[in-house]
């Protein structure tokens, strides 16, 4: 198969060249000796000929039409543009001859883009074929719908296809096509595919006799279940029993669906994927059966192979890897998790590169499970070895990922050392990522900060070019915030700077640290002030302008630290190369610093040039950078925007204080001395206020209750930008609605978060313990593309330490009618009050749209319900009797006081609903535990309705005041 190509090519190429190619103009590849121009000329001649045939007076018969359309297609596929023939192709669709219809459909699906005006004609032809009851024609029509998959197609056929799919008399082959065709339409326009009676019948296709139908249907059900898990819940038990039958069947039972002795691998994998949409089955029988299946699959991996063909092992291992994914997804059976880990461990040393790659990748997710983290760690040596010996960069990349994932306090030193080692020879494409990872691990697991400082300096030494600003800002932040490491840091950078050639980043770090803490090592005659200064100044001329500016700041700081070398420094500042420097920034610094050092008294100098105050603790900006790197590789201007924004959020303080190190101390006298202008031009406000314009806008909208902030800025999209009909809509209403929508999400996880004339935002989220994942769906409601579509999730400074959010960037263009999805991974580090803000910017038509919505990630999402007896409950209730632990709120009912609804809301809120606990049966009592990364907080709640007064009294008792407060606020809004 395809292997004998050479012989066959020799025989036939010449033949084809003479007969076929001469006629089609496809002389490109085979007729050697002709220039590119000649080829194009040949094609153009052919195109002209076809055009004349189409335009000719004589009506072409179906056969000729088909022939020319086919030729056009051929030419197009050779890479040439085709701008005619569409009409003829559409005509072919209505031909009764199969061959003509087929070519017509192929042309349409390859060449007609979704916005074509011909779409109405095409839809007509498709409609006829769908109604023809001829399975071959129906198949062609369905393929075409799936291939084009446009919104217009969805509008025309999304109602029809489900009927075909579940009709009793539909042929199996048509059912299969219909299932996948519907899937395609659902992916492009979910809003147009109405759920209905057919959904329950689709689930039963899992029981179909025909394995092909089951295969196709499983894909459809999986996608539908991802978005509507409740409606497709019944598929779980069906999928398990189907899977069980396949797994236990003998290799010949399934006949044509056995692939190289593996029974129905595609279907097995799809079923295992479907099961990954759900938590472990609740029904113990189903759960037991599934566990059996998974064990069987793991057992089979140990059996000797039934064939030596790679297809056999691929198919078998494909099922195995999918089963392991499911085991990891469930994350509930320690026994299976450890077995999975052992199996992957075997693959780590397999001779097939593909298996090693996949084992490393799969182990990464396994490392984050508490059950298997330790088991993964036992493979550390193998992984390190992979890093050193693998020949494939993709595999090495996976090894780096795994080392990062398996790192904890116990092995951090080893892993960081190995990564540093590898960095010396690492591929350029992954160096920056490794640098970021090393920097993060070193910080996260630093037991003593001297190790951290050493590590970062090593990073700069080994891979200075790949050390981004975030990394060296961060080391400076940490050194400034920790007294115990400052002396060591000064000593170490001083020594590192001795190297004859050192990276500019090292000069920056060195300059900054010595400027702050050079005095700590000045006692040693080997690093006396003058020596320090000379050392730095010897690097000065080799550095770029920003570094030189930084060094000038260091010099003025030296003037304060070491009065004895003041004159030396003044001489340097006074030299022509400084005072008359062509660069304005440098010149200005030199002038101002010189002046400052001359006229200011020692006291003023000491105040102005005081040591930097500690930086506020915040999430490492390196982490943010790494998250960003994980996104698509395309750096467009969109990325740039993000970069700007994230540096505003995380890092604005750092560059500013570095550049203007000497003057941005909080002391107000800096301005008095006229120093403001130059250094401050490229510096943001001082660290304490960390507010850029952008942040202010958001913190405003966060503190005001309005999640959407219309009118607060002329750029903000008020709905009336969209179309004139909605001018009447009051922005205030939208605010109100949006806020109400936000509260609706407190007790549920899925639904529509926001909607205006242009955009609909839907949410689907799941939470487990302190982790969560949220899928955000952005639907373009217009028929026009959104450009530069940039959704960003923003945590305020207060929120940031408590909540870790990771997002992937989305495609910057959203087609009319299309929907894009964004995943937010959530980690709750500690309890929190505010909600993150989702900011969305895009261009619609000519206008820039900007809107912000509160993202409903609330503290109660991290609830785990706890069942307990009445006795237990009241005992704990009493234990939490400290007045600060209790928060009570009495409020009027906003909704009808229905007991069932109230119960559902309390359960939706996340706590367990405890029946028969409260002596008064009308009251509601709940209990649960809030999981955060740092602690777990037990919560008890009691809700007492008063029907006469239409009031509620809500009491919360938790071990933490802020938590009681927040939960009470959230829950009070619900009734």
């Amino acid at each position: 198969m395809l292997t004998t190509i050479k012989q066959k090519a020799c025989y036939s190429a010449a033949l084809y060249c003479l007969t076929f190619l001469n006629k089609t103009g496809a002389t490109l590849t085979f007729c050697k000796g002709k220039s590119k121009e000649a080829e194009i000329k040949r094609i153009n001649k052919e195109l002209a000929n076809i055009r004349s045939k189409f335009k000719g007076d004589k009506a072409l018969d179906g056969y000729s039409k088909k022939k020319y359309v086919c030729k056009l297609l051929f030419i197009f596929l050779l890479g040439h543009d085709i701008d005619f023939g569409h009409m003829e192709a559409v005509n072919l669709l209505s031909s009764n001859r199969y061959t003509e219809k087929q070519i017509g459909y192929l042309f349409i699906s390859v060449l007609v883009n979704s916005n074509s005006e011909l779409i109405r004609l095409i839809n007509n032809a498709i409609k006829n074929d769908l109604a023809s009851r001829n399975p071959t024609f129906m198949g062609l029509a369905l393929h075409c719908i799936a291939n084009v998959g446009s919104r217009e197609m969805a509008e025309a056929f999304a109602g029809e296809i489900p009927k075909i799919l579940v009709a009793g008399d539909t042929m199996d082959s048509v059912k299969q096509s219909a299932a996948l065709c519907l899937l395609r339409l659902y992916r492009t326009s979910p809003d147009l595919v109405p759920m209905g009676d057919w959904t329950s019948r689709v689930v039963h296709l899992l029981n179909d006799q025909h394995l092909g139908v089951v295969t196709a249907a499983t894909s459809l059900i999986t996608t539908l279940a991802q978005k509507n898990p409740e409606e497709f819940k019944t598929s779980v038990s069906l999928a398990v029993s189907r899977l069980s039958r396949i797994v236990t069947s003998a290799s010949t039972d399934l006949q044509d669906y056995t692939y190289y002795f593996v029974p129905a691998p595609w279907l097995s994998v799809k079923l295992l994927r479907l099961l990954q949409c759900y938590p472990p089955p609740e029904d113990p029988a189903v759960r037991g059966r599934l566990t059996e299946c998974l064990e069987t699959i793991l057992n089979k991996a140990q059996e000797p192979p039934k064939s030596k063909k790679v297809q056999h092992s691929n198919a078998k291992n494909a099922v195995l890897f999918e089963a392991i994914s499911l085991i990891i997804h469930h994350d509930s059976e320690p026994n299976l998790l450890v077995r999975a880990c052992n199996q992957l461990g075997q693959f780590l040393q397999h001779r097939e590169t593909n298996l090693r790659y996949l084992a490393l990748e799969s182990m990464c997710t396994l490392a984050s499970s508490e059950f298997s983290h330790e088991a993964v760690k036992t493979h550390i040596e193998t992984v390190i070895n992979a890093l050193k010996t693998e020949r494939d960069v993709s595999v090495r990349q996976r090894a780096v990922d795994l080392l990062y994932a398996m790192c904890d306090r116990s092995n951090a030193q080893q892993i960081v050392a190995e990564m540093l080692n590898y960095l010396e020879t690492a591929d350029y494409s992954i160096r920056e990522e490794i640098v970021l990872k090393v920097a993060i691990l070193a910080e996260k697991y630093a037991v003593d900060y001297t190790w951290y400082v050493d590590t970062i300096l090593n990073l700069i030494r080994i891979a200075g070019d790949y050390v981004s600003e975030e990394v060296w800002y961060r080391v400076i932040q940490i050194v400034i915030n920790r007294d115990d490491v400052q002396g060591y840091a000064a000593k170490t950078v001083f020594e590192a700077l001795q190297a004859p050639a050192c990276h500019e980043n090292l000069v920056k770090v060195g300059g900054y640290i010595l400027g702050e803490f050079g005095n700590l090592i000045a006692g040693d005659p080997r690093s006396s002030p003058l020596i320090q200064f000379n050392l730095l100044h010897s690097k000065f001329h080799l550095c770029s302008v920003p570094t030189r500016a930084l060094l000038l700041s260091t010099y003025i700081k030296f003037v304060n630290l070491f009065p004895e070398i003041k004159t030396t420094i003044q001489d340097v500042l006074r030299s022509d190369s400084q005072l008359k420097n062509a660069d304005v920034e440098l010149q200005q610094r030199a002038v101002e610093y010189l002046r400052l050092s001359t006229i200011a008294s020692t006291d003023i100098l000491a105040t102005v040039l005081e040591e930097m105050p500690p930086f506020p603790e915040r999430e490492s900006s390196i982490l943010a950078k790494l998250k960003k790197k994980k996104g698509p590789g395309t750096v467009t201007d969109l990325e740039e925007i993000k970069k700007e924004r994230s540096s505003d959020m995380n890092g604005s303080a750092e560059p500013a204080s570095v550049n203007a190190s000497a003057v941005s101390t909080p002391s107000p006298s800096a301005d008095l001395l006229g120093l403001g202008a130059a250094p401050l031009t490229n510096s943001a406000p001082p660290p304490s206020s960390s507010g850029s314009l952008l942040v202010d806008v958001f913190s405003d909208s966060a503190s005001a209750v309005a999640p959407l902030a219309p009118g607060s800025d002329d750029n903000f999209a008020s709905p009336d930008l969209a179309s004139s009909e909605v001018v009447s809509e009051e922005p205030a209403d939208t605010v109100h609605d949006a806020d109400e929508l936000f509260h609706k999400f407190v007790c549920k996880n899925n639904g529509v978060l926001f909607e205006n004339q242009l955009l609909q935002i839907g949410l689907k989220s799941e939470f487990r313990q302190n982790l969560g994942r949220m899928f955000i769906f952005y639907g373009n409601k217009t028929s026009t593309q959104f450009l530069n579509f940039t959704p960003t999730v923003i945590c305020s400074d207060d929120l940031q330490p408590s909540l870790n959010l990771q997002t992937k960037p989305v495609d910057p263009t959203v087609d009319g009618g299309a929907q894009v999805q964004q995943v937010v991974n959530i980690e709750c580090v500690s309890d929190f009050m505010e909600a993150p803000i989702l900011n969305i910017q895009f261009r619609y038509g000519g206008t820039f749209q900007n809107l912000s919505v509160k993202l409903p990630i609330t503290l109660n999402k991290f609830f785990q319900p706890t069942e307990m007896s009445s006795q237990d409950f009241f005992q704990r209730w009493k234990q939490l009797s400290n007045p600060k632990q209790e928060v009570q709120n009495i409020f009027k009912a906003k909704h009808p006081m229905d007991a069932e609804i109230t119960k559902a809301k309390i359960i939706g809120f996340g706590s367990a609903l405890l029946e028969e606990v409260d002596p008064n049966p009308a009251n509601f009592v709940g209990a649960g535990i809030i999981h955060t990364k740092t602690t777990q907080i037990g919560c008890l709640l009691r809700l007492e309705p008063n029907l006469q007064a239409q009031m509620y009294r809500l009491t919360l008792r938790t071990s933490k005041e802020a938590v009681s407060q927040r939960l009470c606020e959230l829950l009070s809004e619900q009734f």
């Binding site: 395809l2 006629k23 022939k67 086919c70 890479g79 199969y98 979704s114 071959t136 065709c181 196709a216």
Partner: protein, 154 residues
Amino acid sequence: MIHFILLFSRQGKLRLQKWYTTLPDKEKKKIVREIVQIILARHQKTSSFVDWKDLKLVYKRYASLYFCCAIEDQDNELLTLEVVHRYVELLDRYFGNVCELDIIFNFEKAYFILDEFIIGGEVQDTSKRSAVKAIEDSDMLQETVEEYMNKPAF
């Protein structure tokens, strides 16, 4: 889900392209250029998987032709390799010892066979018999492209 499938020769010449997501032509051309370059630059004996943007490329070479699928992160890589293999088997069964030229000159057949096997980026039917039968049935209704291409046209 498979986002697209590309077939190209060792010389980097595109032989078949199938897109399961809607993209502008310009974008497609850019992607093809980029991917052909990435894959051709890879050494033998490396893994068959390459991270590309937020997708993963799974590729395999058969004689002079590269088959490359772009799949999503959570898709099964090994099984995608077998999707490619099954497609080659289907081509082989239809053409009888298929070669690159078969795919060039009977491109429409290659597309039809692919359509029978994969719709909207998902595998429709994995039975060799069903897929090839559909094509063979339709062949009963028509002559081959070569036949009518070889008839005197102008």
